[in-house]
Symmetry: C2
Subunit: 534 residues, 2 copies
């Protein structure tokens, strides 16, 4: 059986890319949404037409067992899946392709790869699922390096050990979501971590980027699921002790979480796992607008209920996602539990939502799905959630700029930030695209703040897309920072967010981080350009 | 009114030290527990008899507005309150006294203090409440420094700002527990952080040492309550952005949490606050022994209930603390909520506890105390909890070595760790004291592990106490590390835990931390000897 292939230029599996019927339907919807007629279907790119530069370094004999300069390998390791990545891929521009792709099968081969890169002055880019939306896996070597090697962790995909008593598992860093869940399932356990990249991204990538799952509260950041980390740095291995908690100095794990490949390569981690949920409750509460729904979401989490889902969607966002509303915004509440009925928690949250001015004409739905069963409405949402990035890629072929960005802010800043970001983004789209719209949802809520997630869609001018996109991105990012937001709540910094990250993080912390990097990566080969400059 | 004075050699307030009647009662109890007769009451030390060396550096004119070489100031800033601190203080040995005590009133004075220390090569020790039990505030300068300055943050004791919408407050680092709670109370808010040092220790000290509160689950580590930190380092100010969560690189806050004064001086922080609880439920569940109670505690938190209290005490620990049992161990469960009745959560936890083999003859008690009321049984526990360190100090005057230590480990390691630590500690006490006993309680429980807390009591040989104590401490600490524990779950590393911390933390992480320290503290004046050597 041929392994299922990833699309060489677009999001996800090649066989799941929207077909022409689907693209036509999308073209009609997007065209109408942008106030014009149906959009034209652009031709899809062919791998043969991809423009890939000659490798600047050759595959060395000592690495030949796991190194390749194969064209498909190099093309599929060139970019992540940001809008600008997909656009360049669509245009056949793979000028940033790595010179060599390394697929080590054990840590000894990783060490050999590092040694070679140090000796040859080759930049080394750790590659997990390649789903970065911030330029995290694209290293243009510039003058400083002789070339770029992409190091794919694909062979590190096993659950190595399960400690059922402690509800923890030792998992290799290259394991993708479905692969690790499949190995945990026979034990009745789950990592219960569902970012939008779930199908393709890897545990190591999630740890390196401080990824966030789709649950709205509590154990939803990978940070909180990590018990210990093993990383191969150019100086040797760092492995933290497996502990439920510790007060012994600054946390080593927290120094590696979010290090985005600049300190070393995460090879495995002990993570906290959970029993698979059985009971579920869900309800939709309607509000006049998003700030009103946000206010209710705040009241729910501040009342001590922590729903698995607490997604607020503005009217347009709801429409685009097929989520019913009564014309305004909607707050989708969901609880799940492996241990007991979720009806009373839902009743509590719902009463808080109604007291905050919400309307819930359909009431709550409760479900005891049995240990192995699923919840059809949750499955529907999940399919749409996992499918959204395919639509973004398809929109590129219709001449549409479609992208998302997200942030986090304390509650006192939210209303102003939300209004300012909508205004700045809309203004930028009008200025450089002549049209476009932006929507907002809340993906994560905390007692002290919220993570708003924005989607913008605008007509592209052929050949000018990157410039147009850049102008919108700059306007939106400036507004985020000006109103107390972070440049990223769960998408990482990479190369794309550097200008805003550089303004956001304390300068002396950046100096301290550079000092750490010099200590662990003295030759400065690890993922250069990300987070800090040498 | 004279400000209430701290005891110059023992724990806490001078006016709360046990009087002779209380000491006699303690002498009878401790003597019996150690298998002998009543212990003799040692004379209490007098400040006039304290042996304090001449200052090696003189108070500089430019700092004279906030610097002092006063004898009482120097004596009360010599030690924390570890057993060996109290013993030395009791013996009148203040040879480690700082040469000068600085009490800056604003950040500008902190900067001037740092400059002076750099110029004069004086070690600078940040001093919060002085409650360290790990030698965190005691710097002997050795040859490397001309002297030692203790920098007391006492003037930084204000709640500067409250953001009620986000349930957050900006608080100065020198604020002690009661002082900050008093300022939050009019707003109906609470930091809800109750370590045993609550009355004396400071927010900055808690952050610097990654302190743990007395709640058994969830928001109980100061780490989780911190929204942003402001620190004055020798190189300048680091201030992180106020955010509910962020994925932008490694967390700056987490690098400062647990830095124990080696990187700079925390001056203020935004922290998450909570509504004051109103409903409370409590229950005691009896088990044959501590491992059985631990097993039930594990089942409770793994079932998705997270009690505020989930303390398991072995039989002797329960007896010493006046907690009723039926002869074996006890699991004390408690829930509290500002928002709703806690009865159903208690019923859930209790049913799990009973299913784990527990006995609950008295059932659960529920209480709606009203927004301002208290719970008498919780108050009783709190008084005993806050009073325990006074007894430790009093035991020193009876010729008894009494100390505590704590750890954290994953559940799979607990039974073996518990047995091994009891054995190693008992064996060491027998060997070097001829008698002694050790007890254990569980202070914090997690789905993946537990924090056991041990107390040991042994007869001292006058003049040999530090050697005896050292032998017991070494045996216990070695056993902790050998069985998968951390050298500290919430007491920090300081100077006392260095040998085991040095074995526990990854060596390359220590190198990275040293690199950070060199960056932020290039002259190496900040709290030398703690965590890492230069």
């Amino acid at each position: 059986m041929t392994p299922r292939q990833r699309n060489f230029w677009a999001w996800g599996w090649a066989d799941r890319f929207p077909d022409d019927d689907a693209r036509r339907a999308l073209a009609a919807r997007a065209g109408a949404a942008l106030g014009g007629g149906d959009l034209a279907l652009g031709a899809l790119p062919r791998l043969d037409d991809a423009r890939v530069p000659e490798p600047r370094v050759s595959v060395p004999t000592e690495l030949s067992a796991f190194a390749s300069a194969d064209r498909f390998e190099r093309v599929t390791h060139t970019y992540g899946r940001a809008y600008r990545d997909v656009l360049r891929g669509y245009r056949g521009d793979f000028s940033a392709a790595p010179d060599v792709v390394l697929r080590p099968r054990d840590e000894a081969e990783i060490v050999r790869a590092i040694r070679w890169c140090e000796q040859e002055n080759v930049a080394l880019v750790p590659f997990g699922g390649g789903t970065s939306v911030v330029g995290g896996v694209e290293a243009t070597s510039g003058d400083r390096y002789r070339g770029v090697a992409s190091l794919d962790l694909g062979a590190f995909d096993r659950v190595l050990e399960i400690d059922a008593k402690s509800r923890a598992a030792k998992i290799q860093a290259g394991a993708r979501g479905p692969v690790l869940e499949e190995q945990l399932a026979p034990h009745g356990l789950s990592l219960r971590f569902y970012p939008q990249s779930f199908e393709h991204a890897t545990l190591g990538g999630w740890i390196a980027t401080r990824a966030g799952g789709h649950f709205a509260t509590r154990l939803t950041h990978i940070d909180d699921l990590v018990e210990s980390i093993r990383m191969v740095t150019p100086r040797g291995v760092i492995e933290s002790r497996r502990l439920p908690a510790s007060g012994a100095g600054p946390s080593p794990d927290r120094a590696l979480l979010g290090s985005e490949g600049i300190l070393g390569i995460i090879t495995e981690a002990w993570v906290r796992v959970q029993a698979r949920p059985r009971w579920r409750s869900s309800a939709s509460v309607f509000f006049d607008d998003l700030p009103a729904a946000a206010n209710a979401a705040r009241a729910v989490v501040q009342s001590g209920e922590f729903p698995a889902n607490c997604r607020a969607l503005d009217a347009r966002e709801a429409m685009m996602n097929g989520v019913p509303t009564d014309g305004g915004a909607v707050l989708v509440l969901g609880f799940e539990s492996a241990d007991r009925d979720t009806a009373s928690s839902m009743a509590n949250a719902l009463s808080v939502g109604l007291a905050s001015g919400g309307r819930c004409p359909n009431g709550a739905k409760h479900r005891d799905a049995g240990e192995r069963g699923g919840d059809p409405s949750a499955e529907t949402w999940r399919e749409a959630f996992l499918g959204a990035p395919y639509l973004q890629s398809a929109l590129v072929t219709l001449g549409v700029i479609a992208d998302t960005f997200e942030t986090g802010c304390t509650w006192d800043r939210f209303d102003e930030l939300h209004a300012a970001v909508l205004e700045a983004t809309t203004e930028a789209m009008q200025r450089c695209c002549g049209a476009g719209f932006v929507t907002c949802r809340l993906t994560h809520v905390y007692p002290d703040g919220v993570a708003p997630y924005f989607t913008f869609v605008a007509p592209a001018r052929q050949g000018g897309e990157l410039e147009q996109w850049g102008e919108i991105k700059r306007a939106a990012s400036d507004a985020l920072l000006a109103h107390g937001g972070t440049i990223t709540h769960h998408h990482a910094v990479g190369r794309m967010h550097r200008p805003w990250y550089d303004r956001q993080r304390p300068e002396l912390f950046a100096e301290a981080l550079r000092a750490m990097k010099r200590t662990l990566d003295p030759h400065g080969i690890m993922n250069p350009g990300v987070l800090v400059d040498p």
